[in-house]
Structures are given as C-alpha cells and as structure tokens.
Amino acid sequence: MSQTPIASYGQEFLVIDMHNLFVSTTLADEILVLGGLNFIEEEIVTICAKFGINVSASRTLTSYSGGEQAIICCVMIMCLLSDQNLSILLVHILETLSEHNRQQLLAEFRITRPLVNLFTLGPGGPQPIAHV
C-alpha cells in the first residue's frame, strides 16, 4: 500500500490528515495526551462556536460529523501551537468543509497564527494555500 501522508511528509510538515485526526476518544483526553493546559479547552470551545459547533470536552469525538471533527482538530492544533514559522499540511481537510467553513478556518489560522504556512496535498505534492 502507498505511504501515508504522515510518512511521506511528516518530516517537513505538521500533517493534519482527515484519516488520522485524533488519538483519543474525547477532546479532554486529546488535550491531555498532547500536553495542553486547562485553559486551552475554553479557547477551543470559543473558536469552534464561530463554526456553529457546540463542543463539549467530554463528548466522544466520533459523535461529531466528519467535517466538525476536522474543524475541532484544526482549532485544537491552532490553540496548542505558539505562533511560529511552521508549515502545516492539510490532507483532505478543506474538501470536507462547506465553503463557508473552509473560508472561516483559513481566516482563523490567519488571525490566530499568522506565521504559520498552510499547504494542501495536490497531485504533485504539497501546495501552498494562497491567502484569501
């Protein structure tokens, strides 16, 4: 079987892959595993509310829709990272979102983490996402 995006590009990019969003069953556990601080949870809930997603840290992550899970994961990564010159590769993330949520997510990254460079996976490999 062909290599996963994480195996192919994980050295150069922080890969957020639609097929490997979380390792835990709840947001609370996910934040714990990733070493996040308690206030991160409130920040994630606030940002996700902009997408119309009512996030509960104790709710099973798989009970959200696929698109909602993608948004929660991206927002969580956004909150866990400091603003730094980092390359993030979004694999099948943007295609899973409605047009409105797609633009909202890119805007949130731009506002919250302006130093981060976003990429999507095209036929020839990672391609930068132009600023909207």
Partner: protein
C-alpha cells in the same frame, strides 16, 4: 424508481428528526447531491433513513466517509474475486465499484475528493439506477451521465430538527 413520502423521519442513533414537507420521487438514472453545512445531518440521514429504505428493494454499494476503514474489506474482496488489487486509493475505490456488478444504487459519502480526474470516467456512473453523493466540492459535471440531477438540501433549524428540500437540477 425510488420514493420517499412527505413525513417526519426520526433518526434515533443521531438524535435528529428530519422533516420532509414534500414527497421525493426519483426516476431511473437519477443523481442526488446531499448538500448542507457541516453537521447538518447528511450522513446520519443516509445511514438511518435512506439506506434502510433503499436496501429493502435494491442492492446498494455504500462508500462511507471513513474510507480508510473500508480499505481492508475492499482489498480482501477483490483478492477473493481474483481481481487486481490497486495500490493507489482512487484506483482501489474504482476497482471496488466496478466489481459490484449487481448493485443498482451507489452511495458516495465525500468520495470525490480522492479523485483528481473525472469521477464518471473512472466509475461509469451511468450503469447505476440511482447515485447519491455527499460532497462539499460542488462539482456536477462528473455526474452528468445520469439523466436526472437533484439537490437534497439539509437545513438544521433547531438543535435536533433538520428540514429537507429537493431541487431539480437537470
């Protein structure tokens, strides 16, 4: 070919209630795009309402959103059928669909995002009597070999209520 009466359809597993004010009547060779915002209840409606009804009358092939989980089944089944097992995911999906020669109904839940070329060219969709597709990419062209096209729109009005409306596209 497929009819869904105007009614309220509860979906116990997701806790949603779907309201269909006007009956749906789909002729042979129809393609239906399920459209709505993330979390509107499209997949839940597929799984808890449409699939159980369709399955009573037709053989269907359902490619769910979490395609990674289905890969092992696809690989094993193609191998059992003594057919080539492609390594590349879009080719594997295509081979799987082509192997399902008995199925009259095809359901694709956000599958077109894996295809960089014409989906219809890859899958020969016109051989299906009914194709249901969930997609946020909003491409109609790959499905134009189907004679009729519709958009089934999902509007979540309250926390647990989703209103459905059908628009005829072609």
């Amino acid at each position: 070919m497929f009819e869904l009466p105007a009614a309220k359809y509860p979906a116990p597993r997701s806790g949603l209630n779907y309201e269909l004010p006007v009956a749906i009547q789909l002729p042979h060779s129809s393609c239906v795009f399920l459209q709505g915002d993330n979390g509107a209840g499209k997949t839940s409606f597929l799984e808890e309402v449409l699939v159980p009804k369709i399955h009573k009358a037709y053989d269907l092939l359902y490619l769910a959103q979490d395609i990674e989980i289905q890969q092992t089944t696809m690989i094993a089944t193609l191998a059992l059928l003594n057919q080539p097992v492609p390594d590349f995911l879009p080719d594997l999906i295509t081979a799987w669909i082509k192997a399902a020669t008995r199925c009259q109904v095809l359901i694709l839940d956000e599958i077109d995002k894996y295809f960089k070329k014409d989906l219809d060219q890859a899958m020969t969709l016109s051989r299906f009597s009914l194709v249901l597709t969930v997609s946020h990419i909003n491409l109609q062209a790959p499905y134009r070999s189907m004679q009729h096209g519709y958009a089934l729109r999902f509007q979540r009005n309250h926390v647990r209520t989703v209103t459905l409306s059908l628009e005829h596209l072609w």
